[in-house]
């Protein structure tokens, strides 16, 4: 046996072993699902208390993960067979490279086991979980499963069908019948009032993946116009290069288009969240990013200043201006921030910012169509404003009106935010600290749970 043969054997054994060990973990999850999928904070001492039955959470992820490991193991076995017939060192070296990728792929899959832990022990309270379920069903579709993971190594992020690369590596087509969505939230925020608005934004990303919303924006007349403009911008940038330098036109077009599409996606998710939650989204967005540079340019995000401007335009159109002016210090700050023009040092972001502004109407239109019945307007809130505020002042979770109808979840979240901001003095400090006011961190989750139950109790 030569060196290539023995190295290949070692790699194949390692890839197979890593995948099998992890697949066993998934099997244990599936076997223990009646115990593990419904209970949070469970330990082995109390599993006897948990009912058997058809589990609900994390099952699609677990089945999909199991299939991914099966595909990977089968692919490794196939490659071992193929290797025996390879005629020359060159083809063996190619097989070695592929097997190394499979080892890395199998090892990288390890993180997905922590997603199963999160499905078994959900980090979110039940009220927030029901909210996520409702939003997912509307925004993504009924055949979708969301697993929320409290992450220590990243901020808010969303991945849809995260196992696609593994299936691709294994040469197996991946088309799960259920959309698998993993949403990461910072562990420090798992019980804070910041969570709800930002989760809506994150689920907007999943909705875009599932329904191609950015493509919808770009499919409008104005969208096509902006896409053509990308080509013009790339030509201009290439021509502006100093003499002697040549630009790769295709790469430039791709770079600008990628950034523009990412920015449209962010603005679209902002718009969806503002449609569903009204000013709450702007408040929580500012509570998180308000302390950073308003003009910081990212590959994936437009500047915070531009996002504030787009959000304010939308909220004003939806009739929220009067309610927002009730906290004048905060409102003035938003409007002053939006009024100032941002300065761009580079051509790409300047072009994308202009393109995004010109597409704002189309973005809002697509978001409006997509949120459907979840749309929340000031006229929906005004009749309940006084009652929600009264309940919160009395320390009562505002889930039900005196007439015993359920309070909408967007109303509950907005009322709780307004209460928390007002309690803190109605200024920017109060906005930054609102998420931890007890009425927001304790009463809001209970109200969300009870309102969801009331809605479901009364039937579809």
């Amino acid at each position: 046996m030569d060196r290539l043969d023995s190295e290949f054997d070692l790699l194949a054994a390692s890839a197979g072993r890593t995948a099998r060990v992890q697949r066993d973990e998934v099997k244990r999850f599936l076997e223990a699902a009646p115990q593990s999928s419904r209970v949070s904070g469970v330990t082995h001492e109390v599993t006897d208390n948990i009912a058997e039955g058809e589990p609900r959470r994390g099952m699609a992820l677990a089945h999909h993960l199991h299939c991914a490991y099966d595909a990977l193991i089968a692919h490794v076995e196939q490659r071992v067979e193929d290797f025996k017939t390879l005629p020359d060192p060159e083809s063996k070296t190619g097989a070695l490279t592929e097997m190394r990728q499979m080892v890395v792929g199998a090892r990288n899959l390890h993180q997905s086991l922590s997603w199963l832990d999160a499905a078994a022990n959900p980090p979110l309270d039940l009220g927030t979980r029901y909210l996520v379920d409702q939003l997912t069903a509307t925004l993504v579709g009924s055949r979708a499963e969301v697993t929320v993971v409290a992450a220590t190594d990243r901020s808010y992020a969303t991945v849809t069908n995260p196992l696609r690369p593994v299936f691709e590596l294994s040469g197996v087509p991946s088309s799960p019948s259920v959309a698998i969505i993993v949403v990461f939230v910072p562990r420090r925020e798992q019980r804070s009032g910041l969570l709800h608005p930002l989760m809506v934004h994150e689920l907007g990303h999943a909705a875009n993946k599932q329904h191609g919303l950015v493509r919808e924006v770009l499919g409008t007349d104005r969208g096509r116009e902006q896409l053509s403009a990308v080509m013009g911008e790339a030509t201009a940038q290439t021509e502006a290069l100093p003499q002697g330098q040549t630009g790769d036109m295709t790469a430039t077009v791709e770079r600008i288009a990628t950034r523009l599409m990412a920015w449209i996606e962010e603005a679209l998710c902002d718009s969806i969240a503002a449609h569903i939650l009204g000013p709450t989204y702007l408040y929580s967005f500012m509570a998180i990013v308000g302390t950073s540079d308003l003009e910081m340019v990212g590959e994936k995000h437009p500047t915070t200043r531009q996002r504030i401007r787009l959000l304010l335009e939308q909220l004003d159109t939806l009739g929220w201006a009067e309610l927002m002016s009730a906290a004048p210090e905060i409102d003035d700050w938003f409007r002053a921030a939006a009024e100032e023009e941002e300065q761009y040092a580079e051509a790409d972001p300047a072009f994308c910012a202009a393109a995004l502004s010109s597409l704002s109407e189309q973005i809002v239109d697509v978001a409006t169509r997509h949120v459907g019945d979840l749309a929340f307007r000031s006229v929906d809130y005004e009749p309940l404003e006084y009652e929600i505020d009264g309940l919160l002042k009395a320390g009562i979770p505002p889930s039900q009106t005196r007439e015993r109808s359920s309070v909408g979840r967007a109303q509950i979240i907005l009322g709780s935010w307004i209460f928390a901001v007002a309690k803190g003095g109605g200024n920017l400090d109060a906005l930054a600290l609102a998420a931890d006011v007890p009425e927001l961190s304790l009463l809001l989750p209970k109200a969300l749970q009870d309102a969801a139950l009331l809605e479901a109790w009364r039937g579809p």
């Binding site: 419904r38 209970v39 949070s40 904070g41 469970v42 330990t43 001492e45 109390v46 006897d48 208390n49 948990i50 009912a51 039955g53 609900r56 959900p122 309270d125 039940l126 979980r129 009264g390 309940l391 009395a394 320390g395 009562i396 979770p397 889930s399 039900q400 005196r402 015993r404 359920s406 007890p438 009425e439 304790l442 009463l443 989750p445 209970k446 749970q449 009870d450 309102a451 139950l453 009331l454 479901a456 109790w457």
Partner: protein, 212 residues
């Protein structure tokens, strides 16, 4: 002091003034939950299950609150699922309903007979003070011979509401305007008894040795 009947309960839960209203929220099914002289309460979704630990035992005279917390595990059961309570087992639960008792009323929480007849004890600390606000903690014990399935949302207890001769000025929580009522089961605060138990020890010493 008299017990509120159906009409009295209906009037109390509909009062305009929140400070005078008997708050029972959410009231999922008014017709079914308001009885001739009581309000049915439902089981909540949060539980604290006691577990065996390395602690030597519960001694309110020498027990930090953290030790009490270490003896339980928080468990959430979703609506539609169930928690098995085994014979002899003790679990803390809470009412689904968030209650607020005005200063003119007091209440007792009692188990419903259909549960009692299969051996389920629902509450031992049954009196609810005027001014109480929050979900009531239920001390659930299976005294029967078979495991009992507990479904969050099912009607498990009843609240019997009494009128007071007049509104008390010494209602629960009056001196703490930052007080937010519990939204799930509350652990024992036995550790708060430590100061009084220390005093009792001093009293015991004085009784044995009156010269000290």
């Amino acid at each position: 002091m008299s017990v509120l009947h159906w009409e009295g309960l209906e009037e109390a839960v509909k009062r305009d003034d929140l400070s005078e209203r008997l708050v029972v929220m959410p009231l999922l099914d008014f017709k079914r939950q308001i009885g001739p002289a009581s309000v049915d309460l439902r089981l909540g979704t949060e539980f604290r299950v006691l577990r065996r630990t390395e602690e030597s035992g519960l001694d309110p005279g020498d027990q930090p609150q953290a030790a009490v917390e270490r003896m339980t595990t928080a468990v959430n059961i979703e609506i539609g699922d169930k928690l098995w309570l085994h014979p002899g087992q003790f679990v803390l639960g809470a009412t689904l309903e968030f209650l607020q008792i005005p200063a003119t009323l007091a209440a007792h929480v009692l188990g419903r007979s259909s549960w009692g007849r299969v051996g389920l004890l629902v509450a031992t600390a049954i009196f609810v003070q005027p001014g109480f606000s929050g979900c009531l903690t239920l001390e659930l014990v299976n005294h029967g011979e078979s495991p009992i399935a507990l479904y969050p949302g099912c009607r498990i207890a009843q609240l019997v509401v009494h009128t007071l001769p007049s509104a008390t000025e010494h209602y629960y929580g009056r001196d703490d305007d930052k007080y937010i009522g519990p939204t799930g089961p509350q652990l024992s605060h036995l550790a708060k008894e430590a100061a009084e138990i220390a005093y009792l020890r001093d009293v015991g010493d004085r009784l044995i040795d009156p010269g000290t």
